[in-house]
Structures are given as C-alpha cells and as structure tokens.
C-alpha cells in the first residue's frame, strides 16, 4: 500500500518538476532575449557632415571632402582630439582652449607651398568612420582664409557623408554662425541640416595672417539636439524599411524582414490550409480504413523530413522551375526568392496541417454525421454545413500552430530566399510579381546568417536579439491563440 502511495507521489512530483522546468525554460528564453537586446538600446546614433570653406570657383565644389583646396572645417569630434577631452562640449571654448585645438583648424586655401598643407588633418577625415554621437553633442568649427587667397568671397559648403541619411538620424542637426570676425557684416545664420543636408553659402572673406588670427575667424557651431530618447529612436528605427547593419551608418529597420516573414507565412498557409483541409476531409470522411492506415504513417514520415533537406529540394526543383518561368522576363539570377520559399514552406507544413485537421474532423462525433446523413445531406453538404463548422475551432487551432511553425522556420528561408532584404512592393502588378519572385529575407534566417559574425554586445548584436524577441513574441502569441482555440474545441465536443 505505502509503495503505491510512494509511487503516486513520485509521479506527481515528476509532473511538477517537468512542468516547472518547461515554464522556467520559457521564462529563461524570454529573459535572455530581453536582456541581450538591451545593446540595441544603448546604441549611439552616428552622424557625419563634411563642412568646408572653399573658393567659389572651386571645381569640386560639391564634393567637399575631395577638394584639396578646400578648407576642411569640421567633421565631428573624433578628429579633434583636444575637444574629445573636454568634458563639456556644449560650452564655447575659451581662447586658450581654441589655441590648443590646432588640429581642428586647417587652412589650405590656394597656398603655393603644399608643405603648408596639413594633409593628415584634411584627409584623415575623409576616410574615418563616423563616431557614435551622443545626445546634445556640439561641435565648434572655425573658418577663415589664408593671406594668399585673392578672392573676396568664399563659400561655405556642407555635405553629409555618403551613406548618411538624415531620415534615420534622431537628431535635430543645425549649423549655426556663433561669431563673425571683427569688421565683417553677416546676417545671423542657422541652417537646418536635416531639411537641407547638402548646400553651400557665400560669405565675405576674412583672411588670417598669423596663427593667432585663425582663432578670430568665423566661428560656427554644429549642434546635434536629440529629437527623441535613445529608446524611442531605436524603436522608431527598428520599424523603418531598411535593414543594413554593416554599412558605415548602420540601419536596423526590420520592416522588410518582418514583412517578408509575414508574406511567406501568408502564402504558405494560404496554400497549405485549403489543400490540407481538403486532404483531411478525404481521409476522415471518404478514405477506406486501409488507405488511412497507409496514409497516416506516410504523413508522419513526411513531417519528420529535416528542413535542410526540404530546402535543398527547393533549390534543386522549385527554384529552377521558377527561373525557367520568370527568369528571362524579370532578369532573375536564380529562381530563389519569396515564392520559392513560400512554396517549399507549404510543402513543409502540409503534413502537419493534414494530420491536425484530420484529428479535428475525427473528433466530430459520429452521431452528427449520421444526423446530417439522415437529414438527406449529400457528402459535400455534410462537410460544408456540419463537419467544418463543428470542427472549426480545431481547424483554426491547426492553422495557428502551422502559422507559428512556418514563421519560426529558419533553414528553408535561409536556403531558398537568397538572402537580400527587400521591401515588398505591391504598387503595380509587375512590382508585385517582382516582389514574389525576387530574393528576400525573413527574420529567422537573418538571425541565423548574421549572428555568426556579429561584434559581441554591439548595437547590431542587440538588434539581432531584438529580432529574436519580435519573432518569439509573434509565435508565442499565435501559439497561445491556438491553444485557446484548442481548449474551446474540447469544450464544444
């Protein structure tokens, strides 16, 4: 007797332990994703402008940084070592401080002697990666012309770094004239660099004859005032349509990835659900027990094919077929893309859909079938009017579980999507067709591809975890919905 009781309590304890472990796993996954994605929020948003004073007839007027005759006034703090050390960069520097910051001030205008150039200060800025700017950062720049300069006007030209996009910059960027040299009359000047990221402006010339006098030139201020908090800016950027984590100004807009994943899921489920339910109806209503006996194990074997194998199958069969159909018309390099992925996903999920739908249909009591038959309903009417409505909860649950599985499936997308983040475009039929057959990239394969060579604890790293979190929340939500429907299905029957 006591043995039985001991066994019972052991079994009960095991149940609790197992349940606790499972719950702990979910909480741990959630916590881990959450904790690691903090690095996405610690991100500083870089910005880079090249601002130069140059002769008005300068040939390379628009390519500020490449003009050797231009006077490079400032990029940002990194080059100005002296200012780097200054704790409070928002304060205007004193005369002494400015005189120490000679690296900031480079005068090269039309000098005869190239040795007077300070090429390392000039060109270093062209090549340097932008520093991550901090909130409320300010930079000071001095502008003047050397005595050799013969013109009486000079041009202040400004231009963002090549890959810098003001739309992604969470700062209000302003170029402001703080001080004009003595004896020069200029109107107050303030340029909104986000509205007008590139431009030029003529200024009356002021020539500095001595090193002392450099400091009396035009004093400009480039101010970066944050428009939002870093958290909000990160989230805002996360919802932008551009995923380019490795370029100079990294962009972490996950919208194309999310849309691709959703689109693939939608297409795959849209294909697999009707087909799967139809097959399930056949299996549960028409097929003889013999056929069912054969079919069920086959379904289970199909459901257990590794997704890598399915992916290669897609590469060998589906992609070439699509390439043959659309390759010439759309100039595709391969048939891999959204459609190929969605088709293979449908194949991947079909056995599961059939199996779950058949379970749902078989859970409909036989008495309902008989009742419907005795009422003179044909098979089609029985299925449409009685069986499917009765099994609805179970079928929806099957669909939701299928959606969750397709969403999280990595290998098939990785192999078949061709890995280029693409924003879906349905503005015209041609664009829509292009979206379907051209390469794309979803969330799970992005994590798989990039996690291997990402810098540890960098913003990119944090954003990959943020992607994981997004996917986890999506699939978890859909799974929970599925469970809720399943529960309802059990209550009804």
């Amino acid at each position: 007797m006591w043995r039985i009781r001991l066994f019972d309590s052991l079994v009960q304890a095991a149940t609790w332990v197992a349940g606790g472990l499972l719950l702990l796993t979910i909480v741990a996954v959630f916590y881990y994703l959450f904790a690691e994605s903090q690095y996405a929020f610690q991100r500083k948003f870089p910005f880079g402008f090249r601002i130069a004073l140059q002769p008005p007839d300068s040939e390379y007027r628009n390519e500020v940084s490449m003009d050797p005759t231009a006077s490079l006034l400032a990029t940002h703090r990194e080059g100005t070592d002296a200012l780097d050390d200054a704790e409070d960069a928002t304060r205007l520097p004193s005369h002494e401080e400015l005189s120490q910051m000679q690296a900031l001030v480079t005068a090269t205008a039309q000098t005869d002697d190239p040795r007077q150039l300070r090429p390392d200060a000039l060109f270093r800025d062209c090549m340097r990666a932008p520093k991550r700017a901090e909130q409320g950062e300010r930079f000071l720049l001095l502008a003047f012309a050397l005595p050799h300069y013969t013109g009486n006007r000079m041009v202040l030209a400004w231009e963002p770094d090549v890959s810098f996009d003001p739309a992604y910059c969470p700062y209000e960027l302003r170029l402001r004239l703080v001080r004009a040299p003595e004896g020069v009359q200029v109107k107050p000047l303030e340029i909104d660099l986000r509205r007008q990221p590139k431009g030029s402006l003529e200024l009356p010339v002021w020539k500095a004859r001595t090193q002392e006098e450099w400091l009396q030139g035009y004093l400009f201020e480039l101010e970066a005032r944050p428009t939002t908090t870093t958290t909000l800016a990160t989230i805002q950027q996360f919802l932008m349509p551009d995923w380019a984590p490795t370029i100079l100004y990294a962009r972490f807009g996950m919208l194309p990835l999310l849309l691709a994943t959703l689109l693939i899921t939608l297409l795959a489920i849209g294909l697999a659900m009707p087909l799967g339910i139809a097959a399930a109806v056949y299996l549960s209503e028409q097929a003889s027990p013999r056929i069912r006996e054969w079919f069920k194990p086959i379904l289970e074997i199909l459901a257990s094919i590794p997704t890598v194998v399915l992916g290669y199958f897609g590469v060998m069969l589906i992609a070439p077929a699509l390439q043959q159909m659309f390759g010439e018309a759309l100039q595709l390099s391969s048939g891999r893309g959204l459609l190929a992925t969605a088709l293979m996903m449908a194949v991947f999920i079909l056995p599961t859909v059939i199996s779950l739908s058949e379970d749902a249909l078989r859970a409909v009591p036989n008495s309902l079938r008989e009742g419907a038959e005795a009422l003179g309903l044909t098979l089609a009417e029985r299925v449409r009017l009685v069986l499917l409505p009765t099994a609805k909860s179970g079928l929806i649950a099957a669909g939701l579980l299928a959606i969750a599985r397709v969403m999280g499936e990595t290998m098939i997308v990785w192999i078949l999507s061709d890995g280029t983040p693409t924003m879906p475009d349905f503005s015209s039929p041609a664009a829509a067709l292009g979206t379907l057959v051209k390469p794309t990239r979803g969330i799970p394969d992005t994590i798989a591809i990039e996690m291997g060579n990402v810098e540890f604890e960098s913003p990119h790293y944090g954003h990959l975890f943020l992607l994981g979190l997004t996917l986890f929340v999506l699939t978890l939500g859909i799974n929970l919905l599925g469970f809720a429907y399943r529960k309802r299905a059990q209550v009804v029957l």
Binding site: L368, L375, P389
Partner: protein, 260 residues
Amino acid sequence: MVAAMTLPKQKVAMETVELSVSYNGKPALKRVSLAFPANAVTALIGPSGCGKSTLLRCLNRMNDRIPGVEITGKVMLNGEDIYARRVNLTRLRREVGMVFQKPNPFPMSIFENVALGPRLHYGLRGRALQEVVEDALRKAALWDEVKDELHKSGLALSGGQQQRLCIARMLAVQPRILLMDEPCSALDPISTQKIEELIVELGKQYTVIVVTHNLQQAARISHYTGFLMYGELVEWGETRQVFENPTRPETEDYIRGRFG
C-alpha cells in the same frame, strides 16, 4: 419463418421483402418481410442484438456507410425498391426521416438546426423558412419553450429538449415516414413522457416506426408491434394482441420477462 404479414384495410407505407443483412458475413437480419401500416405507430421490440436497429436503419439506408455490410432483399417505398440502382438517397431521406438514440443537434443555433434541411431541400428563405421552422418546432412540442431563444445554441438545451429539437429538424424536411431508434433511452422519465406523447400525436399524421427495448413504452404508444429475435421476425400484429395474446411461445416468454 413468418410470412409477410399485412393487415387488410390498412394502407401500407413501407414494406420489407425478404430483407437479409449481414455484417462481415455474420447475419444480423434473416429474410424479414414486414409491412408498416401508414399513419400509425409501429414498435419493433426484441432482446439486444436481435436486429431491430439494423432493420430500422435499413429503411433509410443508413447501414450503407458501415463497412462490411451486405444487404439482400427489397425495401419497398411507393412501389419502388429503395435498394435499387439509381435511387436518389437525398430524396429517400427527405421522405424517410430518422431520430437517433442519443440526441444529436448540430453545434449551431436552434433556428439553424431546424432551418438547415428545408433550406437545402426546398430552397426556402426568409419568411417562408421561418414559418416552416416554427411549424416544425410546434409539431415537436418545443416551440413554446424555445421561441424566445431561437438563436441560442442547440447544445444549450436539456437532453429531452435536444431530442425534440432533432424531431423538429426531421419534421422540417417534411417526411412521411419517421424512424426512431430508441428515442427515449438516453432521457429522464419526464422527458420520456413528453416524447412519448409527441410520438402518439405524430402517429396520427405520419407513419412512425419506433425501436424500443422498453416493453411498456411499446405497449403505451404503438398501434402495431413486431417482435424480433436472433434476426428473425417472430411475431407481428396489433399491439394489444401481441402483448395480451401472443401466438408464439417466445413472444410470450419475452413479454412475461422470462428472458431479454
């Protein structure tokens, strides 16, 4: 072996001729010939496994879907054999309705349960459909109880109400013959009484064939009774005669409660 027994003067609604049924070679009905009088209640009684349900289910071909079934003989309805080729099953079942042992309302509203048949078979819509539904529910003595909650789920009703809903669902298709397979065996006594009253009422307009293993019930509600044993029709006649003055010793033994 009892020969086809019909009663003179009484119109015959349905008739089985030498009907035999076997499941996977095991006989369940042996050459049963039986005529069901029109506009009367006929009860089929007999011990468990005697084939009475099988016989009933043959009358609207519900046995077709059972695997391994083999049916020989004829079932005549309107002068036609319902087992002949090219019989329209939908039309047959429109004419021969059936209620089962366990109430099986569809998981939809009360109204939809009843409206399903007439909408499909007669293409009724709107007002006409509502009238048919109301009429069927009235005939099934359910209208007064559910008229204010027609849009509640049929599953929310009590067992007896569910069974009457199933009867209403059957009546809405306007059959002439009603088959009832132990319609009260899953119900409480009060619901049973209501259904019994209903059967008596329906017997005036319809040909009702009831399978029951409750002898008192058969005696209470039926005009005619058939007694089956081991797949054979043992006795057949007016209910009073079968119960009070059976011609065969087996019938007497069964009715006196000596076995079964």
